[in-house]
């Protein structure tokens, strides 16, 4: 077999270099290294950090929270919308977390505008439904990109027009701003209504799909706390209150599923659906026991809202994908920093 001439050897080496170079470039493109403008999960999470930087060992948002355990008691009515096991009549174990929509785990409870709940329901077939909901009736903006821009704008304290410019470009934030200004504060996590905000698709046993949002509607009547009074409350008053309240008995929320009609803005969580949509009460969430987060079962859970049982899937709403990507980054960061978490020293549960 004749060996190739030196000239064709050079040609061959060039071919090899081009093949390897193109493969490397394609890989770099896929990884986003050639697209500095791409909104990566890491950039989104970094933008959540408070001015002093992220607090190591903690969730990057909704950093302050307290664990609870309880049950979800399905009444069977949800089976008309979804074949998910969790809607079949029965009682299923829950691990949850009451939390504040803040990046600082040391924030005073009275300072947080947004309160939230993380819930994980497990069914006997081993499937899990995780959700992370907040008490706002709709989200601040329409897209994950807009949310990132909101975080950047609100971080620019030295640019007086940053927020005004943002609001001009994203007028949907007006409704959220109005809610934030006017919505009353309650005195308890137990008195909050928590909303999925994002839409999801329920698939029923006949193969029909229903695009839905859901809420946890409190059975406890709301007791409103004035702004002045709120500022005087102890730093951890919500955590103390819910601990005492659960010591005297379980607290309950009705899970209400709202079904979209054709044309409803299913892809935009900043838009409420019109009144009068069909709702189905599918069961009751009962919180029975509070456990401080360092010792609690919720600390190790990423309440990724895309962990869904068969019978529920994501919709055309772009947020669950972004939330899943960002929550994973938050989880990866905080677990890598677990030594910084309070009580993580010798003898503490790992």
């Amino acid at each position: 077999m004749p060996r190739p001439s030196p000239l064709s050897t050079i040609g061959s080496l060039i071919v090899i270099a081009v093949v390897v170079g193109c493969a490397g470039a394609a890989f770099a493109y896929a990884a986003g290294w050639l697209s500095p403008g791409r909104l990566t999960p890491s950039r989104l999470v970094a933008a959540l950090a408070p001015p002093g930087g992220p607090v190591a060992g903690h969730r990057r948002n909704h950093a302050k929270g307290i664990c609870f355990t309880g049950t979800f008691e399905a009444n069977g009515a949800g089976s008309t919308l979804s074949k998910a096991r969790v809607f079949q009549n029965g009682s299923y174990p829950v691990i949850g977390r009451f939390n504040l929509g803040v990046p600082d785990p040391a924030a005073a409870d009275g300072t947080a505008r947004v309160r939230g709940i993380g819930v994980q329901i497990t069914t006997p077939d081993g499937q899990e439904w995780r959700m992370a909901m907040i008490d706002a009736p709709f989200f601040a903006v329409s897209t994950p990109q807009a949310f990132y821009e909101l975080l950047v704008a609100s971080g620019k304290k030295d640019v007086p027009d940053a927020m005004r410019n943002f609001a001009a470009a994203h007028p949907e934030i007006g409704a959220f701003g109005a809610w934030a200004k006017s919505a009353p504060f309650t005195e308890s996590y137990a008195e909050e209504r928590y909303n999925s905000l994002d839409s999801f698709v329920f698939a029923d046993g006949s193969g029909a799909d229903h695009t839905v949002r859901w809420s946890l509607v409190p059975t406890a009547p709301a007791v409103i706390v004035s702004g002045d009074d709120l500022a005087k409350r102890p730093k951890d008053f919500l955590e103390q209150e819910i601990t005492q309240r659960l010591a005297s008995g379980p607290q309950r929320w009705t899970m209400t599923v709202t079904v979209a009609e054709p044309g409803d803005p299913t892809a935009d969580p900043s838009k409420a659906w019109p009144d009068g949509r069909r709702t189905v009460d599918v069961g009751t969430l009962a919180a029975t026991k509070i456990v401080a987060e360092p010792d609690g079962p919720c600390r190790e859970i990423n309440f990724d809202p895309t962990v869904l049982p068969v019978g529920i899937r994501t919709s055309d709403d772009p947020f669950p994908s972004a939330r899943s990507a960002a929550y994973a980054v938050s989880y990866d960061l905080r677990t890598a920093e677990a030594d910084a978490y309070p009580g993580a020293g010798a003898g503490a549960p790992q």
């Binding site: 077999m1 060996r3 190739p4 050897t9 061959s12 080496l13 071919v15 090899i16 093949v19 390897v20 493969a23 490397g24 394609a26 890989f27 896929a30 990884a31 986003g32 791409r38 909104l39 990566t40 999960p41 989104l44 081993g126 499937q127 899990e128 994950p144 190790e300 859970i301 990423n302 990724d304 895309t306 962990v307 049982p309 068969v310 899937r313 994501t314 772009p318 669950p320 994908s321 972004a322 899943s324 990507a325 960002a326 989880y331 990866d332 677990t335 890598a336 677990a338 790992q350």
Partner: protein, 190 residues
């Protein structure tokens, strides 16, 4: 070399090319899915997990077939350092084919995520939740992905070097074409 078939077995060649497509897709999906918040993220993750398990299964079959059938000898005139590099890179590639899916499965387990291959089809956790174990496995999974891709680039460069410059039949051992000194006629005649 006369009378010696310098091809890998048909099973080895099919496995090689199917896995080449799978593994390259896997690496691109992996770096892509962690770099975007769009709905592609979820779509890519939902491919990444079952494809990873498929690669694990194929890798087991492939190593079994390699142990059974061996490999054609490298050309006698191949310089010793190149022989050594070929052997080492092949060991590394086999090891990564097995290790990467297991690391991914393990890190999801250690993070208490359900390991869903398809809707309703779950793998059992292979580790208990642990912050430190999750971090270790996650870092390994990420770092070894880049190592894997780098070795594949070297592998491709070496294969093309054999095919275009040395023209010594090493590349053809993994293709359907004839090798330089063991014409396909012989294999076909059997």
């Amino acid at each position: 070399m006369n009378g010696v078939d310098r091809h890998f077995t048909v099973a080895q060649r099919v496995l090689h090319w199917v896995m080449a497509v799978c593994i390259l897709a896997m690496l691109f999906i992996g770096v892509g899915m962690v770099s975007t918040v769009t709905t592609s993220h979820l779509a890519l993750v939902s491919i990444h997990k079952p494809l990873g398990i498929a690669i694990l299964i194929l890798a087991v079959l492939r190593i079994a077939e390699r142990l059974r059938a061996g490999a054609p000898a490298l050309p006698a005139d191949l310089p010793a350092p190149m022989k050594r590099a070929a052997e080492l890179s092949h060991y590394a590639l086999y090891a990564l084919m097995i290790a990467m899916p297991l690391l991914g499965w393990g890190m999801l387990s250690a993070a208490a995520y359900p390991v869903a291959l398809f809707p309703g089809v779950f793998l059992p956790p292979i580790l208990a939740q642990s912050d430190s174990v999750h971090t270790l496995l996650w870092n390994l999974h990420r770092a070894l992905a880049f190592v894997f891709f780098a070795i594949i680039l070297l592998h491709v460069a070496a294969a093309l070097f054999h095919a275009l410059v040395r023209r010594d039949g090493v590349f053809q051992a993994m293709t359907a074409g004839s090798t330089t000194d063991a014409p396909r006629v012989r294999a076909a005649a059997e």
